[in-house]
């Protein structure tokens, strides 16, 4: 392969002009080839993906008005406007004739007057029946959700927006009902924003859960999927 130096025997130590010409032709051909750029660059990635507006929307998932009001046919009434006329009994098992749109899915908390004041409909009721104003719903939630309330007061549960530095601006601690519907408080499931589509990402991950390399030997993982989930209602 490497042929330096003296081949005295072959006596062809020099290259004839024909050889030089051959080299010249090879280089010229190479020049033509490279100028033609036979392997043009092709972008190995797609254009900018579409990201829906809501994906970057900082609004809270709910925006209740924190006022004891109801809007019917374009008119806004305070709750008391109706409830003055029709006072409720203290306990009732009969089906509601009004507010049929409310489907109460708040666990064991299935009585209106656990939260709403029976006597003053423009307020909530605390444990002793005293009024909690509509714009302070967290005090109402705290009646049952003490641990969460404690976390919330320290900003550990729930959203905080605005400024972490109080000297520069307000820290906006979002109230419970900006995320939770009081009548169905489980945080609503939502559509996920688009996943990654990075350079040459290739195929997305296959299902890895049953691959031998990471098979979990615990027997619970061998059970059918349904029975792995805890029984609803257990433990609380």
């Amino acid at each position: 392969m490497v042929k330096p130096a003296s081949d005295s025997s072959t006596a062809s130590a020099q290259v004839s002009p024909a050889g030089i010409w051959a080299i010249a032709i090879v280089f010229a051909a190479l020049a033509g080839l490279l100028f033609a750029n036979p392997w043009p660059y092709q972008r190995p990635y797609a254009g900018a993906g579409l990201v829906p507006e809501w994906a970057t929307d900082t609004a809270t998932v709910r925006s209740p008005k924190l006022k004891p009001e109801v809007t019917v046919a374009g008119y806004t009434y305070p709750c008391s406007a109706c409830h003055k006329l029709f006072p409720s009994p203290s306990e009732t098992d009969r089906a509601l004739t009004q507010h049929g749109e409310i489907s109460l899915e708040h666990g064991i908390n299935n009585r209106c007057f656990n939260c709403h004041s029976r006597t003053s409909r423009d307020a909530f009721a605390d444990h002793r029946g005293a009024a909690i104003p509509y714009d302070q719903p967290q005090l109402l939630c705290a009646k049952c959700h003490g641990l969460v309330f404690r976390d919330w007061t320290h900003g550990v549960h729930g959203r905080t927006n605005g400024y972490w530095d109080a000297s520069r601006g307000p820290l906006d601690r979002q109230k419970c009902i900006r995320c939770h519907d009081p009548h169905a408080p489980a945080f609503a499931a939502m559509r996920p924003a688009p996943g990654p589509n990075t350079l040459r990402m290739g195929d997305t991950q296959p299902d890895t859960t049953h691959h031998p390399a990471v098979e979990n030997p615990l027997l619970i993982h061998k059970q059918p999927a349904e029975s792995v989930d805890p029984k609803p209602g257990e433990g609380h």
Partner: protein, 341 residues
């Protein structure tokens, strides 16, 4: 080297190749044409360079620009103005590029509630928008991992989940981004000191100093660093005009970038974009040196863990739990009210 070697090869071969009297015109001509052809081949090899646009060729000032830490405040101002001009020229948007210094008595800490994250990925896209990431090729600082319940093994996690609704019942979610380590391996390995830890705990990059060796990317145990493999593309209309030198100004091809806890926001007292957008409030941010801060409370009162504690990087990014996990998978309507009443 190849090139010059090539041309001269033929020049010099002339006297050697055909000794003395045999140095004919014809021999010289053949060698000359070989030299010319060689030169043409060299030019052809270099020909792709004609597509280099002005953006990709550093100007004299850019070439001579000093390291961020070596610049005087006046020099920094000059550089900021130049960057503003360049960005405005390219994107045709009015922007402001500032150099916001770290605040005294501040150490930023991030906490993320694993019990509450629902994996909606809004943080990912808010981050992209705030920090002027390249949209093509796509660069994102935050990866949300869908984890199997009963395990905390990232190897079984899914990065590309796309169900109609999240959260899914059999999973929990663990977003990962730069952990702003107190002992950052990325800083240690950088050969040119293009990346360093600021006094407020944020590891930053001087995008104008990085040589693009990607050693930091290999060193990061959290896969938090990103490289600009191509010229970043940002639609002009989506450019965030509030920029700082060390964080969200547009990057160039061939340099590293990473999460800076949105320095342009957080050094002015605001929350990072990912905290601001998180619909569940799983993301918490603040000055841990302030005992009244949310993050200080979390470290004191919650059960926290750091990801990959065994690599000894002392992250400033903590994951925490609630006393009781979420009840997403527990349909509330089956609870029998009679039992507890």
């Amino acid at each position: 080297m190849t090139d010059s070697g090539e041309k001269s090869r033929d020049d010099h071969a002339a006297p050697a190749g055909v000794p003395g009297p045999e140095l004919t015109r014809r021999g010289f001509f053949s060698k000359g044409s070989a030299a010319v052809a060689g030169g043409a081949a060299l030019a052809a090899a270099l020909s792709p360079l004609r597509d280099l646009t002005g953006d990709n060729v550093p100007s004299v000032e850019e070439f001579l620009q000093k390291h961020y830490k070596a610049m005087t405040p006046e020099e920094i101002q000059v550089v900021l103005k130049r960057i503003e001009r360049k960005v405005e020229q390219r994107y045709e948007v009015d922007v402001s590029v500032q150099d916001v210094k770290p605040l005294d008595g501040v150490e930023f800490v991030y906490a993320l509630n694993v019990s509450r994250c629902i994996g909606c990925r809004k943080c990912v896209h808010a981050c992209v928008e705030e920090n002027n990431h390249s949209r093509a090729p796509e660069i994102q600082y935050i990866r949300v991992l869908k984890m199997e319940k009963g395990s905390i093994n990232v190897e079984t996690s899914d990065h590309h989940y796309d169900p109609p609704l999240v959260p899914e019942h059999d999973s929990y979610y663990m977003p990962v981004q730069c952990h702003q380590c107190a002992k950052p391996p990325c800083v240690k390995v950088c050969p040119v000191e293009a990346t360093w830890q600021e006094p407020d705990g944020v590891t930053v990059i001087d995008y104008d100093w990085c040589i693009g060796c990607r050693y930091c990317e290999a060193a990061c145990p959290y896969w938090a660093r990103r490289f600009n493999f191509a010229d970043p593309e940002i639609p002009s209309g989506e450019l965030n005009p509030d920029m700082t030198y060390l964080s969200n100004r547009p990057r160039s091809k061939g340099v590293m970038e990473k999460c800076t806890f949105c320095l342009q926001r957080t050094r002015q007292g605001r929350m990072p974009a990912c905290v601001e957008v998180c619909p569940t409030g799983s993301r918490k941010f603040g000055n841990v040196l302030d005992p009244e801060s949310e993050v200080a409370y979390i470290l004191k009162h919650k059960r926290v863990f750091v990801f990959k504690e065994d690599v000894g990087t002392f992250p400033r990014f903590f994951y925490y739990f609630d006393e009781r996990g979420s009840r997403y998978h527990e349909p509330l309507d089956v609870v029998d009210p009679g039992d507890s009443a």
